[in-house]
Symmetry: C2
Subunit: 230 residues, 2 copies
DNA sequence: AGTTTATTGCGAACATCGTAGCGGAATCAA
DNA sequence: TTGATTCCGCTACGATGTTCGCAATAAACT
């Protein structure tokens, strides 16, 4: 018996041609499921029913993919409405961005390791700058403050994501890891780390919101002082 | 003719036995020369006249090596003298840490991706906490403020390191990259990013110190306000 | 000194990763 | 229909981190 291999029987008539949009969107979906370290070109290709090398037709390399991915994520974060005082506006942006970043697994880490080149991402920076300028800050101060504000939010969220990854590794959950950490701190030599030991019990797993807000308040109060002088 | 392989002719009499200290120190030296992405187990082993597999006798895996490396780096950063007001002390720590991190290539990036488990690293956190506590902050406020302060410094330096890596890739230097970036910003659609375009010319390559100090001031003023209230 | 035990390094492999370069299918011109 | 051209997809390559069984050395003990 002869097996007659007929060509491309199950191949779609018209070659299903991939585009960048599709690649990036699938990458985001994959990121949500497997996280940053497991987001690999091969796995992504598999998702698209294609071999890894094919992706390079639509993306220069993995770094570029991550940049695009970062922009995609930024695109999902709502821009501020632009009402209220400048402090309220900045707070709103910060909360929005953090929420948006936590909405996708490891999203903040992607932004953290990626230069802010994408247009949607630049829109958010623009928004912060605009608020600061309209609040009366000088160009230089506004630029500097915007840098720090953006950094603060993304790095804070990135840290949360890193911790989540760390705590989600084997069968460990968030609270358990914190309990362990507290234990470690308590067994530290008290004469070398007196304050650290003392503060061990203030470590709590569920006050990330409060910690974040505390940071925002610090920044805003600092800016306020600056505004009153300038 | 028969080749008689005589055993271990050029092997040193006493087997030079490796220890963790040596591995970590060599890793730091290697990091300085090749940077984080090129710091590989194989290359490190080569440095030690050893094959890669041998390293795993002294280090559980690469992650642990990075943690140890982070601690090694922290160990080189001087602890504060402890004189002056709390703001001066915190400033001193911040400047010290940043300087210490910039002293080794990609050092800050190592700290940024590594949990603060090492003893020497904990000492610095302890120092910050102590200053805050002695300044009269509550335990909770001190803990939160210390978290943000540490994050601020390391992430700022990590960002600098990332940029340095980016700018050091092909024959590009710092200033040139900034010039390019400014160019990019200027060619952005003015109607979409008015403020960003306006601020393009305020981007300058050599004001990292000022930018850092600005951030410190923001934090300190924020803390000052908090202290006065309560 | 001789014997046993523990430690250290190594060779070779494995799985996995990002990606260059090429062969061949799809499309178009004639 | 044929020939040329475009362009997509894949095989293959060189690295990476890491495991395991074995050999050789150092340390401990008798």
């Amino acid at each position: 018996m002869r097996i007659i291999p007929y060509k491309h029987a199950d191949r779609p008539r018209k070659r299903r041609t991939l585009d960048q949009q599709q690649v990036v969107k699938t990458a985001l979906a994959l990121l949500d499921e497997v996280g940053l370290e497991e987001l690999t070109m091969r796995r992504l290709a598999e998702r698209l029913d294609v071999k890894a090398a094919s992706l390079y037709r639509h993306v220069r390399n993995k770094d570029e993919l991550l940049i695009l991915l970062g922009d995609e994520i930024s695109g999902e974060i709502p821009l501020p409405r632009g009402s209220g005082g400048w402090k309220e506006q900045l707070t709103e942006i910060a909360l929005n961005v953090r929420r948006g970043l936590l909405a996708h697994r490891d999203a903040a880490r992607v932004l953290a390791i990626t230069p802010p080149f994408g247009p949607r991402r630049l829109h958010h920076i623009e928004a912060v700058l605009r608020v600061l300028r309209s609040a009366g800050f000088s160009r230089k101060d506004a630029a500097r403050a915007a840098y720090h504000a953006n950094n603060f939010v993304t790095e804070f969220a990135a840290d949360e994501a890193r911790f989540a990854a760390f705590a989600g590794a084997p069968g460990s959950n968030r609270r358990k890891v914190f309990a362990q950490a507290r234990q470690v701190f308590k067994t530290l030599p008290r004469d070398e780390y007196p304050t650290l030991v003392e503060l061990a019990e203030d470590l709590t797993a569920d006050d990330q919101d409060g910690l974040f807000q505390f940071g925002i308040d610090l920044l805003l109060r600092g800016l306020e002082v600056l505004a009153k002088r300038g």
